[in-house]
Symmetry: C2
Subunit: 396 residues, 2 copies
């Protein structure tokens, strides 16, 4: 229990302590920790310049022992009444701070590790082929995205222009995307890099990964459908990827750890995780203009983040502090657990009815999409992730 008044049901209780980067009017960016409705100014509270760099990278690069020690200190400060006079002056109301992109992202990778999502997309986009590609149950399929267009929650989603060609069209045309979509994903932030030529085994996941955020990998389905053969998504994804401003430390998700669903066939040795289960019982929520439209269960993911990291590096590729990799769209087995509009509207053929009487296949200008999530915390509490939100603006 904290001496601070933490609202009941908050996702930012003493068991969470997520890190972000914030400013207040006229002040420089610095690292903060969310607690209830407040932010603890770490630069001021600790005097450590690592918290005044305007990004979490320098803290993350210190490694797991330093992360644990800082978390231990923070927990002490916020629970032991004797620290109150020292710490209270450095708490700011959360509503008064501006949150920044928390990490500088050197490389961004997006996976495709939800079986229900991959099967849904296969059925919608490639109805004449088996729903899962032949490789899908053998390796975590993924690709590199554009690190330079990863932006913090709240960044406007300007409808992208590009080429698209429906199968019935003779020629491609150019214009604003007509199939702008959201993708509800969970993101993993690398804290400690690795050397070129040194794969990171599944067991070393917690030695490298600092924490977890939410990701909306906005997608222009019409641009993507035309461009993606044979080298994968490019402009259909690269216009914007939004992330939540709070990075939840891996330690806060210990109560949420679970075993992933059984994999069949058994993965190759470098992907085996029997002794290192790194699934997480995180439930996402997708809201469109305030209406809950889906609740994708991350627990159903086929490949875990530890397996994704092992795969990503098994060819010797190196990691850098700040590297971000995302789960791919999270979809559960039920229709109201689908993490994208292309699934929720089944390729645009079954418009989604919203409680306000309107319908949607894909996003319209002015639409606001908000992702949130929750995981079980210690003692029946809830771990929250804040939100990642974006409003669609007309094409320029």
């Amino acid at each position: 229990m904290s001496w601070l008044d933490v609202p009941a049901g908050t996702g930012f209780g003493i068991g969470n302590l997520p890190y972000g980067v914030f400013s207040t009017p006229g002040t420089l960016l610095r690292t903060g920790v969310a607690i209830g409705d407040h932010v603890l100014d770490l630069a001021a509270a600790t005097g450590d310049p690592v918290h005044a760099t305007g990004r979490l990278n320098d803290l993350m690069a210190r490694g797991p022992a330093a992360w644990r020690e800082l978390r231990r200190r923070l927990t002490g400060w916020l629970t032991d009444e004797s620290h109150r006079t020292d710490i209270e002056p450095h708490l700011l109301p959360r509503e008064e701070v501006t949150l920044n992109l928390p990490i500088e992202v050197p490389d961004y990778v997006d996976f495709y590790s939800s079986r229900h999502h991959a099967e849904n997309l296969g059925r919608i986009l490639r109805p004449d082929s088996p729903p899962l590609p032949a490789n899908w149950r053998h390796l975590p399929v993924g690709y590199h995205g554009r690190a330079g267009t990863v932006a913090v929650s709240g960044t406007p989603v300007v409808r992208p222009c590009g080429q698209r060609k429906a199968p019935a069209d003779d020629e491609p045309t150019f214009g604003p995307s007509q199939r702008l979509d959201l993708e509800a994903e969970v993101g993993f932030v690398v804290g400690v890099g690795s050397a070129l030529g040194s794969p990171v085994p599944v067991s070393a996941f917690p030695d490298h990964v600092f924490g977890v955020c939410l990701v909306n990998d906005w997608s222009a389905r019409d641009l993507q459908a035309w461009e993606y053969v044979p080298l994968g998504p490019f402009l259909g994804k690269s216009f914007l990827t939004s992330v939540s401003p709070w990075v939840v430390p891996l330690a806060a998700l210990e109560p949420a750890r679970i075993r992933a669903p059984e994999r069949d066939p058994r993965p190759l040795p470098y992907l085996r995780d029997d002794d290192h289960p790194w699934g997480f019982d995180i439930t996402l929520e997708v809201r469109l203009n305030g209406h809950l439209i889906s609740a994708p269960p991350f627990a159903t993911s086929y490949w875990t983040a530890a397996q994704q990291l092992a795969h990503l590096t098994v060819n010797g590729a190196s990691l850098r502090t700040g590297d971000l990799y995302a789960s791919g769209t999270v979809s559960g087995p039920a229709p109201d657990q689908r993490g994208s509009l292309i699934e929720l509207s089944w390729g645009g053929q079954e418009p989604l009815a919203l409680p306000d009487g309107s319908t949607r296949t894909f996003l319209e200008d002015g639409d606001v999409v908000t992702l949130t999530a929750a995981a079980p915390g210690p003692d029946g509490t809830r771990i929250g992730f804040g939100e990642v939100t974006g409003r669609v603006e007309p094409a320029r």
Copy 2:
């Protein structure tokens, strides 16, 4: 003419003046300009701290007017005898310096813009489909690669491990790549970034691109063939991308500018380049263990670097200083103009005979691959690009 003794036939004459980042034993990294067999230490010669940052990014970010002014000064210093006493002490023998990765690369994109290469790969890999994908003549197909594994020439090429499955195999297996390949490419370095939401038209190419280097986009064909459906190349490419240490300024390539081959069908308006031809008459040379095995003509590229940049940003994606994008493998129409071993050995079916009596389908441990290139310079001179080289080491 320079007052310096510049060897006849050098690729680094007074019309070139490429930039690199170097050190000598016991000294810090700094920017240098290659001239003949020497390097001019720009940090010492100018006293400008922009040349002491250990990367070209800070110089590049100053923009085209600053690039032009610096080039004008350098040309004056190296041609006007009156500067000799001031400048000569800052010239180092090129063989005595160690060359570093010249740029910090925020995002790396690889295109696929050689028609002969794309057709060859289509015929080899997808013999039952038309050689060119349906989108290929409408847009420059491309994808994001791993920026963190872009490394300077000379970096060892450790044979990557990964999953591969031949069509006849029941299950994938794990192990060292058996189809390790080279890809001869031309790279373009972004000097001036762009804002999110602001496409860069074909006409603005020289306002953003600083210069040109050589790229070897090493490829593990067996890993790639198994993983690439549906999201494109990933581990088959991400283990290493080697670049030459010298960046040739765009201004040095003015005499090499040509019009690209006619495009049919006519591209959509944002890709039209009738008034902005940015093809380059650059001839690459590929050497395997010292033997010339191919001379790919970059002049045959279907899409120019200006069109690639316009496409890359047309969806609003932003650019950052240091972004690198590569042409994709360059292949000409003739068999000895193919820029990869998968083409030169036609998918491994027609081993390449080397003058030393050995044959190759794909790269063997110990093989050394070296790419060089030349373009016409002023007054009958030749513009060189240095080299990008790498030696294959056994899998770890």
